[in-house]
């Protein structure tokens, strides 16, 4: 019996190690290939570690395209969207969970409809509307078109529903305004949900590719994913400069991996909240 358990533990560790290797290897490959010379990267069979690591590839790649600008755009746009979503999701969720008003049922249903419609399917009409509003190729367009998320509203509404309505009533009896109740009672009690909202939204928006790429043509407006992709196609000349492409991919991925390592508890806890939110 003891022996069987030992075998099982060994098998489990072998399987886990294999899975870990498959997950991690692309990252390892990205970094080591970023350090190779153009000759070595095409060498057969490939080397696991570069003969003479060429750290200057990172600096070369960084200057080969306006990556600082791309990353700055991504951080600015994603950061602004996070702030806006915290505000409008908080207010909307408050109205839906702790206020009485006539259109409540209609608005709840509307949010539900928004939840079901796939965002990518309405990119074409949204593009035309954005064009009519003269917001194509602007930060305003990038930010406003993403400044509301049905998922965020659901997430916060779910958290607010857990807060007893008595606390809100007590606040009203004390003469506090709705804003005050939201700000001093509800938000402090549901901070973990807001942390999840902020992190998930930031990651999503920083990585966002398809929609920002559609609505920005000017390279100076591009977010990092679209910028990296144009570098891959043009600057990298489709594979002629693979070490630089790998270096650029590495400094695109690195900030997110760092953010994830620092906040993994919150990000992973999002699973509990997401599962709750999706149950409506």
């Amino acid at each position: 019996m003891q022996g069987l358990k030992g075998v099982r533990t060994v098998v489990r560790h072998i399987l886990l190690a294999a899975a870990a290797l498959i997950i991690a290897f692309p990252f390892y490959w990205m970094v080591t290939n970023a350090l190779k010379t153009n000759d070595e990267i095409w060498q057969f069979p490939p080397t696991l570690w570069p003969h003479a690591p060429l750290w200057s590839n990172f600096a070369d790649a960084w200057h080969a395209a306006p990556f600082a600008r791309y990353i700055g755009n991504s951080v600015f746009v994603a950061g602004t969207i996070v702030v806006l979503q915290v505000i409008n999701s908080g207010m909307m969720a408050y109205a839906l969970s702790h206020m009485k008003f006539r259109l409540k049922g209609v608005f709840t249903a509307a949010v539900l409809v928004g939840y079901m419609v796939p965002a990518t399917a309405v990119y074409l009409p949204s593009y035309i509307i954005l064009g009519q509003l003269n917001l194509l190729n602007t930060y305003g367009g990038l930010i406003l078109s993403n400044c509301v998320s049905v998922f965020s509203i659901f997430l916060i509404r779910q958290a607010f529903l857990q807060v007893s309505h008595d606390m809100v009533e007590a606040g009203m009896i004390d003469g506090a305004s709705h804003f005050r109740i939201l700000w001093t009672i509800l938000i402090p009690l549901t901070r973990p949900s807001f942390a999840v909202l902020a992190l998930i939204t930031f990651i999503d928006q920083y990585n966002n590719y398809f929609w920002p790429m559609l609505i920005t043509k000017d390279p100076s407006m591009q977010l990092i994913s679209a910028g990296l992709r144009s570098f891959f196609v043009e600057g990298g000349a489709y594979g002629l400069k693979w070490p630089l492409i790998m270096a650029a991919s590495a400094f695109t991925v690195a900030p997110l991996l760092a953010l994830f390592l620092l906040t993994q508890k919150t990000i992973i806890s999002s699973v509990n909240l997401t599962a709750g939110a999706s149950k409506g």
Partner: protein, 293 residues
């Protein structure tokens, strides 16, 4: 009394405006607009849109390219959802008992999910390089040689799917870890007393109890798969020979490459209907689950 009710309505509307205005402009209006466009013939440039009734739909449903894309979308859903859910569950089972280093594995498995799809797809396109790429070099060890991953219509979809599974399996794993933790240990012990071995315990106790999670993941991942774009755009752009052109990809090619806005819109409508049906189905099922509990 009536006045205070109106005041109450007004205050509440004020709270909903910051979300409802952008929601209306960027979700509901486009939704209505795309339905309208699907009945029009329009090329983007012409100021005049011509009403053509159901012609776009008729054209679409008699177009072999539509059925080919539909087939590829279904293959993409099956080929990404099933492996992602199965691998996610397997990883979660391996990690469900606490042991030293378990948290490290968990972090590692989840990490691809936070990285930009574009960046990691670029890395994978280098891994798929036919001559010196990592994939073919590993396959050479077992005697397989010369797969042209992204240029061979028989392999391109598999190549795109592998990246998709690599990126999402860890995300599913986390959901399963939570679900497995919530399985009451008494039930597992009872099964053990009845003489059930590890596998029987898994199939008879754990698997049924975590089925709501499985269902949730299948629905969410299917909706994700229907909307997959980034990895296809970087790796294959719908090619070679249309072998990775999903419905979503067809939609954007007919809109932004061929400027057939009407027909593109009718593709969008089929996608929307598919997702709405899936969501409604999942609401109905999860409501029933709650009822049983």
């Amino acid at each position: 009394m009536k006045r205070s009710a109106i005041a109450q309505d007004f205050k509440a509307l004020l709270f909903t405006l910051p979300a409802m205005v952008p929601l209306t402009v960027f979700w509901f209006a486009p939704l209505v607009y795309v339905i309208y466009l699907s009945f029009m013939e329009w090329d983007f440039m012409n100021p005049v849109k011509v009403f053509v009734g159901f012609e776009n739909y008729q054209n679409l449903f008699s177009n072999p390219a539509f059925y080919e894309s539909l087939r590829i979308s279904i293959l993409f859903c099956l080929g990404s959802v099933l492996p992602v859910v199965i691998v996610g569950l397997a990883l979660a089972m391996l990690l469900s008992n606490k042991f030293k280093g378990g948290a490290l594995y968990r972090t590692l498995m989840f990490s691809p999910w936070v990285t930009p799809t574009v960046a990691v797809s670029i890395v994978w396109s280098w891994i798929y390089e036919p001559d010196v790429g990592l994939a073919n070099n590993l396959l050479r060890f077992i005697g397989i040689d010369g797969i042209r991953w992204l240029e061979d219509p028989n392999w391109a979809l598999i190549g795109v799917l592998l990246v998709t599974v690599w990126k999402s399996a860890g995300w599913c794993m986390i959901f399963y870890l939570v679900a497995i933790k919530n399985v009451p240990p008494e039930l597992l012990e009872a099964a053990e007393l009845d003489g059930a071995n590890g596998w029987r315990k898994f199939t008879n106790v754990t698997l049924p109890l975590i089925s709501p999670t499985t269902f949730f993941l299948i629905v969410v991942q299917t909706i994700q798969a229907l909307q997959a774009y980034d990895q296809i755009n970087v790796l294959t752009q719908g090619g070679p020979a249309g072998s990775t052109r999903t419905l979503l990809y067809l939609y954007y090619q007919s809109a932004f490459d061929s400027f057939q806005i009407g027909e593109a819109s009718s593709v969008a409508i089929t996608l929307i209907v598919g997702c709405v049906v899936l969501s409604l189905f999942s609401f109905a099922v999860s409501r029933r689950n709650v009822h049983y509990n």
